[in-house]
Amino acid sequence: MHARTAPVEARPKIAVCGVTKRYGAAVLNGLDLEVAENEFVTLVGRSGCGKTTLLNIIAGLVEATAGEVLVDGVAVTGPGRGKGVVFQAQALFPWLTAIRNIEFGARSRGLDAAACRAEAEQLLALVGLAGYGDRYPSQLSGGMQQRVAIARALAQDPQILLMDEPFGALDEITRIEMQDELLRVWSTRRKTVLFVTHSITEALVLSDRVVVMGGGGIVGEYPLDAPRPRSRADPRLAALHERIWEHLR
């Protein structure tokens, strides 16, 4: 798939076109969203506003009632290794050690065993868990488990990375550490990221653009160009936090 007809910049990495999803009532209603290559976009909104549903539709795990999603201009018809997903919690295979969980992701690329191991070792070190490869998920803390989950998703070398409240189950301190970690990892392995969160602060610290959802659609977009790492005490972030909060209420 070479972009012969149009320059890469002109085509969004992810294009959500008029997506509607009904479970009885409409959860998503003709939603449009575009995410550029290597952009980090967060989705914030109340519980039940359809953030996770939208993420699952983009991942190909849930079928839209109407509309379509394009990744690199190709319609999404199901889940696959091009669309890496980090789930909220406990999605590691409990019978596999940390390193083998990551190898599971690498294997989807068709790498041989040695290459899988090498890639997994490298990613394990990248997420700061060198030496923990032989631990089972049950022997790791919640934060460590999510580091492994991020490494596993990166191991499949996806076109896009979808993260569904990956730090939602973590305590506040671990959560802040993980946000910094994610940015560090993202700076070495640049990906297009769509990140769902409840936390406005988390969205402001992480993303290039905060998308506010409500009523089955997008109700506001807030681009940020503040350089990273961002101070959580930055007055510009505080002002933006206030505006988004007003919007959500």
Binding site: G60, L61, G78, G80, P94, W95, F104, P137, S138
Partner: protein, 263 residues
């Protein structure tokens, strides 16, 4: 800690005291030896079972071996069919709904109530005994295999699908390992049930096996020998439960204490 305070010592002391009371009550004539043979008689009968056997020539080891063979043949037959079938039913909701009434009914039928039919269908030989064990084990293994496949955490399957695992790869790399703890738990229960059913199954048309020994000794007023048979069954059952527990720890090092965390 002094050895007197150790739990194993206190447990052992309790058993010794009870046995001494029992022996004393027997010696004083409070307990009839035919109904409650004293520990010394049981010990003597145990030795007799080791060297001479009952009926003479059939030693305790042979009885145990015959019984174990029946239990394991039945268990193996049941498992080989029940695991693949149960995993299939558990992954196909339509099949699950279709088979639920049959499964619920069949597992509720007390196995030993099938003894007359089993004798009619499979004759007086080994087959009827093995088939009864197989029947009892089958429904336990089947219901566990169905539940094992059905309750695989959906997020694990979703995660696997995002990594291109589908079809046989999804089954062998995700569903089967996720189901294994429950399959082993089912095997443990099934073996236990096998040990219960075998006594009844061996009541008829055989003199070999621990169940037969227990019944046969009773008709000769050898209550002491019956009790030796009971003890042997208890010891074997205990050993196999412990063995399966060990196997579980070896096969599922990741699973320790996880059951409580997950659901």
């Amino acid at each position: 800690m002094r050895w007197v305070e150790r739990p194993w010592f206190q447990g052992a002391a309790c058993v010794v005291v009870l046995l001494a009371l029992w022996e004393g009550a027997s010696a004083l004539g409070w307990l009839k030896p035919f109904q409650f043979p004293p520990p010394s008689r049981i010990a003597a009968a145990s030795w007799e079972m080791v060297v001479a056997g009952f009926p003479t020539g059939t030693r305790i080891g042979q009885h145990a071996l015959v019984t174990l063979q029946r239990i394991f043949t039945g268990f193996a037959l049941a498992t080989v069919v029940a695991i693949p079938l149960g995993l299939l039913i558990g992954r196909v909701p339509a099949l699950d709904q279709l088979t639920l009434p049959i499964v619920t009914f069949a597992r509720s039928v007390a196995t030993l109530s099938l003894l007359p039919l089993a004798l009619l269908w499979f004759g007086l030989g080994e087959t009827s005994k093995v088939m009864l064990i197989a029947y009892a084990c089958f429904w336990v293994m089947l219901t566990n295999a169905i539940a094992a496949a059905k309750y695989v955490d959906p997020v694990l399957i979703r995660a696997a699908r995002t990594m291109d695992a589908r079809g046989p790869a999804l089954f062998f790399r995700v569903i089967l390992p996720a189901a294994t703890p429950r399959l082993l738990a089912g095997a443990r229960v099934a073996i236990g049930i096998g040990f219960m059913v075998i006594v009844g199954a061996e009541m008829i048309a055989t003199v070999a096996g621990l169940g037969a020994l227990i019944m046969e000794a009773r008709t000769f007023y050898r209550t002491d020998v019956s009790i030796v048979g009971m003890i042997a069954l208890g010891v074997l059952g205990f050993a196999f439960t412990a063995g399966l527990g060990w196997l579980e720890r070896v096969l599922l090092p990741w699973h320790r204490g996880l059951a409580e965390v997950r659901r």
